[in-house]
């Protein structure tokens, strides 16, 4: 269960007077779901980077369950993200040369201590649940919809408390997009994860139910 509290978050890019991101206060309950909308350049990517610890919090506080990401160094943020965040991205970021199953397991296997016992069974279960019929299929041969299903399975391995998706349906056709959108929301509900999705997809927004608009770095619920 992960509860988010953002206070006085400000991010600037060099050479720009207006802050790229300016969020005085934003809260999410554990297990909540929210869609994030905004034109490109509105600060969505920056906001997601702050939420997930991908980038340093330059000013203010991003606190998940009492852990303020602003106080963590790069290595600590990596460890925190590995333990708490599942990520799904627009262009999948599957690694060619590996099978679907190996892709799901990769983040675990790239830890110093390797994947824990049972990870393989969990991964197989998730692939079944996301509807990937052949776990040993090389990812290069998968369709886009199948690829994103593998990416969703990868994000959910280890039952992260936070699920963040960046335009997960944007590069898919309507049918595959609907399936992936349903998977994300259903699985977030099943695991109790807090779900944050940046998207323009009206069907997905409707499915999520709650939407926040980001305009010129300012957030309006």
């Amino acid at each position: 269960m992960a509860r988010l509290a953002i206070r006085n978050l400000v991010a600037r890019f060099p050479g720009l007077d207006q802050p790229a991101l300016d969020v005085p206060a934003f809260d999410l309950d554990a297990g909540a779901r929210i869609a994030l909308r905004g034109p490109s350049g509105s600060g969505k990517t920056t906001f997601l980077n702050m939420l997930t610890g991908l980038a340093r919090v330059p000013e203010g506080h991003v606190t998940w369950d009492g852990i303020d990401l602003a106080t963590l160094g790069e290595g600590a943020r990596d460890r925190w993200r590995a333990a708490n965040v599942g990520l799904v991205m627009q262009d999948f970021h599957l690694f060619p040369g590996l099978s679907a199953l190996e892709n799901v397991l990769l983040p675990r296997r790239l830890r110093w201590r390797g994947a824990e016992k049972g990870a393989r069974e969990e991964a197989l279960g998730l692939l079944r649940r996301t509807g990937v019929p052949r776990p040993d299929q090389p990812v290069e041969t998968l369709s886009r919809g199948q690829s994103q299903r593998v990416a969703v399975a990868r994000a959910l391995l280890g039952r992260p408390a936070i699920l963040v998706a960046d335009e997960p349906t944007a590069s898919l056709d309507a049918e595959a997009g609907a399936a992936v959108g349903a998977l994300l929301t259903d699985l977030a509900r099943e695991t109790g994860a807090t779900l944050v999705v940046a998207t323009h997809d009206p069907e997905l927004i409707e499915r999520i139910g709650r939407v926040a608009h980001l305009t010129a770095g300012r957030l309006a619920a």
Partner: protein
């Protein structure tokens, strides 16, 4: 982690293979220079091993050794025939044999000598030694068998095809292999050489190759005393083995004078190695420069590659791989390719040295031992360490990459 590296290499195998090959060639260059220089040095030293001492007329010591040990054809001045007689009577001498050059048969040098040299070179493997003046013993690499006959050609005139028509030798025996140029030699009694060149005892024409043609009485028995006679014809060189090393030193001292010069083949070779060593350091410098160039090129490729894959590296970070793991993956991948290249280069270098040595061996008869020495380990470890150090640079760049910046790419 290793599985990820291997999957990545499998996917990008043509590029990885090309880089490994470039590294292999650069490594092979250095290995070949080292191995080949060693083979030349060991090979020539072993070839010279049979003879303690070479005695000739006062002239170039280097040429004397090259002609007697390596059978390099060159006109040598003659020594008075009496020197051989003195040596034969000297109690410090285990054996001494005159050698007379000048003739050849189909490119194989025909050398006049005595039975002492046959024994000194390791004896007969097949057949028998000299009994009559028309008998010949061939080296292990000469493609003739007992019973074959031939007419020698005067070497200096061989191009013009002057055959000693009156001279016919019959092969009687084959020498045991020696791994020296003598494996390519045809040995005949030195008296026969004198006869066929019209240089009978007492008619010695000092140093002049322009002799009148004589006929060889092939059935005349070999007379070992003839070479030791005080009025024997002159010879260009005598090879000597002393009973002890001290004897050899004494003999060397004794026969250095205005009549003759005595040298240890080893001392002449040492001088030649000095020259060889200089050439080797030049070649080694060239090889090291080539390796440095290759290292720079590989580094450039690795950097381009890492930059090109910013997004992928960023994604690995985003999914929870730590910076240390990323560093290790990039380093491991570059180091693995480099190590494979170095390993292949060692094999390639060895193979190249073997091929070069085989050609030299076929041409000269000098056995070329291509072998690794303990010091080569240092060279290989040095190359591996350099490769490992170079791999640190792309790894460090990957390490410093921010996952967020990478994803924006």
């Amino acid at each position: 982690m290793l599985r990820f590296i291997l999957a990545d290499l499998r996917r990008a195998w043509p590029g990885a293979l090309a880089i490994a090959l470039i590294i292999a060639f650069a490594t092979a260059l250095g290995i070949t220079v080292t191995l080949q220089e060693r083979a030349l040095r060991l090979g020539s030293a072993r070839a010279a091993d049979a003879f303690d001492l070479v005695i000739g007329a006062p002239a170039s010591e280097t040429q004397l050794v090259l002609s007697s040990v390596f059978l390099q054809p060159a006109p040598l001045p003659l020594m008075p025939g009496a020197v051989m007689g003195e040596l034969a009577a000297d109690p410090r001498v285990a054996w001494a044999a005159p050698i007379g050059f000048g003739d050849a048969h189909e490119g194989w040098p025909v050398v006049g000598t005595t039975g002492a040299l046959i024994d000194g070179l390791g004896g007969i493997a097949k057949g028998q030694g000299f009994a009559r003046l028309g008998d010949a013993v061939v080296g292990a690499r000469v493609p003739m068998a007992p019973g074959d006959t031939f007419h020698p050609v005067h070497a200096e005139l061989a191009a013009e095809g002057e055959v000693h028509q009156g001279t016919t030798y019959t092969v009687r025996g084959v020498l045991s292999p020696t791994g020296s140029p003598w494996d390519r030699a045809i040995l005949v009694p030195i008296e026969a050489v004198w006869q066929s060149h019209g240089m009978e005892a007492g008619h010695d024409k000092e140093g002049d190759a322009r002799h009148h043609e004589g006929a060889l009485d092939a059935d005349q028995p070999v007379n070992p005393a003839a070479v030791a006679a005080p009025n024997a014809p002159g010879v260009p060189a005598i090879v000597v083995r002393g009973h002890t090393i001290a004897d050899a030193y004494n003999l060397r001292q004794h026969y250095r004078g205005d009549r003759s010069v005595a040298v240890f083949p080893a001392e002449v070779l040492t001088r030649l190695y000095g020259t060889l060593g200089d050439a080797r350091s030049v070649l080694s410098a060239v090889a090291i420069a080539a390796q440095a160039l290759v290292a720079a090129a590989v580094l450039l490729v690795a950097l381009l590659h890492v930059t090109q894959r910013q997004r992928q590296i960023g994604a690995l970070r985003a999914f929870g791989a730590s910076r240390g793991v990323i560093f290790l993956i990039v380093w491991g991948e570059v180091a693995l390719i480099a190590a494979a290249g170095v390993a292949a280069g060692i094999g390639l270098g060895w193979l190249a040295a073997r091929l070069i040595s085989a050609r030299i061996e076929a041409a000269s008869g000098v056995a070329m031992p291509v072998e690794f020495a303990a010091s080569d380990l240092g060279l290989v470890l040095g190359l591996l360490a350099a490769a490992g150090a170079c791999a640190l640079i792309p790894a460090a760049i990957a390490y410093r990459q921010s996952p967020a910046a990478a994803l924006r790419g």
